[in-house]
């Protein structure tokens, strides 16, 4: 049964993970003050920006000062610096390039990937900050894990191996789930990292293969890239017996994972200072704990190229209340991207409503769809939807039903472009993300 393992040694670093909030805040303050000094002294981007805003480290003596005075940054600001100066790191780099260990990059779903400068000893930073999450999932020394699908955020193996796990080399990329199932049966791993398209692929295998049996050795599987729909999640948990842990980006400072409570994504607040705010025409304000706001993040553990008050464009709800797992680090729930909302002749259409309509049709239950648009404001809602050909007799009839369902949920009649799921997933240009909004 899922989620009922012994919890005697639940925390990897108990003191850090369950640290009282006041202590955590004091730690963050100390790090933020050091960071401000360090970034001003070493990053041309921050020095220029803060000079423009009349901000100097000597004026920042508390977290309140930091929040009141240090300006936000956006991806576009870093891009503009990059374009103006030719510096591939957008002026964020605080050390000479020769001192870097490695450079990984973002998924690059909406343009050129952006670089992440990294300095490390035993394991790259992204996976290192996942060690606590993997421990929570149940991974222990001697357990086996399947190698993850991608390397664009660096080789993940050293992180798993730091935890004492043995990595089994299996090609887990899309189209290989048959082999993955074979490997699961042969090697009985405790953990596997998956992505949304693989879940879709498994859905197709489910009829021919006893997935519950194949996955029975897993303590857990992770899934990132985009939220799983409610139906997909139930299918994975109830029909395939997988305790699936979703995780998401912590505004490019690391990742945020679900714990075994599966109630929100934990940020590791000794690595990130998180703010949940609403930016207004003149200034900004904190949102209430139960309200949606934009996640703004500051790197507390990155001396290569720290992000400082970085506006992520992720719309989240943030809670600093203690989680059922006993951890004190904040949790967030992600509602979507600031830019995902589409205005169709002035009417607001959100992804979730389309998603619900799509997954209500049996032929498109996997929820593979995209909004096709040049701009946020459009005259018609163009949707590209992937269907399962084996379950689809009459594509036109499906399109008719789907069009009605979308109209009912959103108030807008969509223009549909029906493709097979495989066709649509094959247009992916990244391991990490199936883009929900595309230009063409």
């Amino acid at each position: 049964m899922v989620g009922d393992r012994d919890t005697g040694d639940r925390y990897f670093e108990p003191q850090v993970e369950t640290m009282p909030r006041e202590q955590l805040r004091a730690l963050q303050e100390e790090r933020v003050l050091e960071l401000v000094e360090y970034a001003y002294g070493n990053s041309p981007f921050y020095r220029e920006l803060w000079d423009e805003h009349g901000v100097h480290p000597r004026d920042i003596r508390s977290l309140e000062d930091f929040r009141a005075r240090v300006p936000f940054i956006t991806k576009d600001m870093v891009r503009a610096y990059r374009a103006r100066t030719g510096d591939p790191f957008g002026g964020l780099l605080c050390v000479p390039t020769e001192e870097l260990t490695s450079v990984s990059s973002s998924s690059g779903t909406t343009g050129d990937p952006e670089f992440f400068a990294e300095i490390w000893e035993d394991a790259p930073p992204l996976v290192t900050a996942q060690v606590r999450d993997l421990w929570e999932l149940g991974l222990r020394p001697g357990d086996r894990v399947l190698s993850p699908p991608g390397t664009f955020r660096n080789l993940m193996d050293p992180g798993y191996q730091a935890l004492g796990a043995v990595v089994i080399e299996v090609d887990t990329w899309i189209g290989k789930m048959h082999e993955v199932v074979e490997a699961l049966r042969t090697y009985r791993p405790a953990y596997i990292q998956m992505m949304y398209p693989q879940m879709v692929e498994l859905e197709h295998l489910a009829e021919k293969v006893d997935l519950k049996e194949a996955f029975s050795s897993l303590k857990g599987a992770s899934c990132a890239g985009q939220p799983l729909s409610r139906k997909m999640r139930e299918r994975i948990r109830d029909d395939w017996g997988i305790d699936v842990y979703e995780y998401t980006s912590a505004a490019d400072t690391g990742t945020a994972w679900e714990c075994r409570e599966h109630d929100g994504f934990h940020l590791w607040e000794d690595t990130v200072f998180a703010e949940c705010i609403e930016v207004e025409e003149h200034g900004w304000r904190d949102v209430q704990e139960s309200d949606l706001g934009e996640l703004v993040a500051t790197d507390l553990d990155n001396r290569a190229a720290p992000l400082i008050r970085y506006r992520s464009e992720d719309l989240v709800r943030l809670s600093r209340g203690r989680c059922g797992c006993g951890r004190t680090h904040a949790r967030m729930w992600v509602a979507g991207r600031r830019g995902d909302e589409t205005l169709v002749q002035g009417r607001s259409v959100v992804l979730r409503d389309i998603w619900n309509a799509v997954e209500d049709q049996p032929e498109t239950v996997a929820g593979v769809f995209q909004i096709v648009r040049e701009r946020r404001e459009v005259d018609e809602l163009r949707l590209r939807v992937g269907y399962d050909p084996e379950l689809t007799g009459d594509v036109d009839a499906l399109a008719g039903r789907l069009g009605e369902a979308v109209l009912e949920r959103t108030g807008v009649k969509p223009v549909l472009d029906m493709r097979t799921e495989e066709d649509l997933l094959n247009t992916m240009t990244s391991v990490a993300k199936f883009p929900r909004v595309v230009k063409s």
Binding site: E98, V103, D122, P125, F152, L163
Partner: protein, 243 residues
């Protein structure tokens, strides 16, 4: 700091001797073999020496293209680059990720490119001149099918290839890719490569046909190494025919 503390805590764990279970295609299907930390360290040392032989040194930059399931050699290459103090960028070796390789190439101007695949080259060739792109790169270590493409475009590429559970790396002489003789026995049977594990490997591997067309040169190489060299049919004829 935070991550450093996590790794310090991790070092207190009783960890197994094994780092990897390496799976590799052999003539009669997939085989597997254990890889210990001690072996990984020896392999890393060997790769470090091979890359040093290519002139890699501090102050240079590398680009590594590799897949998630290639850690058994990717780990050693990364370890070698760290030892040589050469920062590396990393991109997928799969064809659809060619744009990432192009961006790294354009922005970081690497002196060394390791692991180029034919699929990546095919993707790149849609919008770039492969020759122009890599002719000025000091060291290009490419996968078998990519070697003839690069050489055809005037790039003096060297071969790198997984040979079963071993890694073969060509030296600047470009007359076959060396395999570490201290760890592996490579040979040829009827025009195909075979491999066996050396005495020092924990996992036994008796002579195993790999289904890879090629031959083996055993004489001392002009680079000074006594390690045997594999010549793969897929990589085309060698540019120099020293043997």
């Amino acid at each position: 700091m935070a991550r450093a503390d996590t790794l310090a805590r991790a070092k207190e764990l009783a960890r197994p001797e094994l780092a990897y279970l390496v799976r590799f295609p052999a003539a009669d299907g997939m085989k597997d073999m254990e890889l210990t930390w001690a072996e990984l360290a020896r392999d890393t040392k060997w790769v470090t020496e091979r890359l040093r032989g290519h002139g890699l040194a501090a102050g240079q930059r590398a680009l590594l293209t590799t897949s998630g399931f290639e850690g058994f050699w990717g780990h050693t290459v990364i370890g070698a680059l760290r030892a040589l103090r050469v920062p590396y960028g990393i991109a997928e070796a799969m064809g659809w990720d060619h744009r990432r390789t192009a961006v790294f190439h354009r922005e970081l101007d690497p002196d060394v490119v390791i692991g180029l695949s034919a699929e990546t080259l095919e993707g790149l060739s849609g919008s770039a001149d492969i020759g122009e792109m890599f002719r000025s790169t000091s060291v290009v270590l490419a996968r078998p099918a990519a070697v003839p493409v690069l050489r055809g475009a005037g790039v003096s590429a060297c071969l790198m290839s997984a040979v079963g559970p071993a890694l073969a790396l060509e030296c600047p002489e470009r007359c076959g890719a060396h395999v570490n003789a201290a760890e592996w026995r490579v040979g040829e049977r009827d025009g195909e490569l075979v491999i066996a594990a050396g005495e020092g490997r924990r996992s036994r591997l008796a002579e195993t046909p790999l289904g890879i067309a090629g031959r083996v040169e055993t004489g001392k190489c002009a680079c000074g190494s006594e390690d045997p060299r594999v010549l793969l049919a897929e990589a085309g004829p060698t540019s120099s025919s020293r043997s």
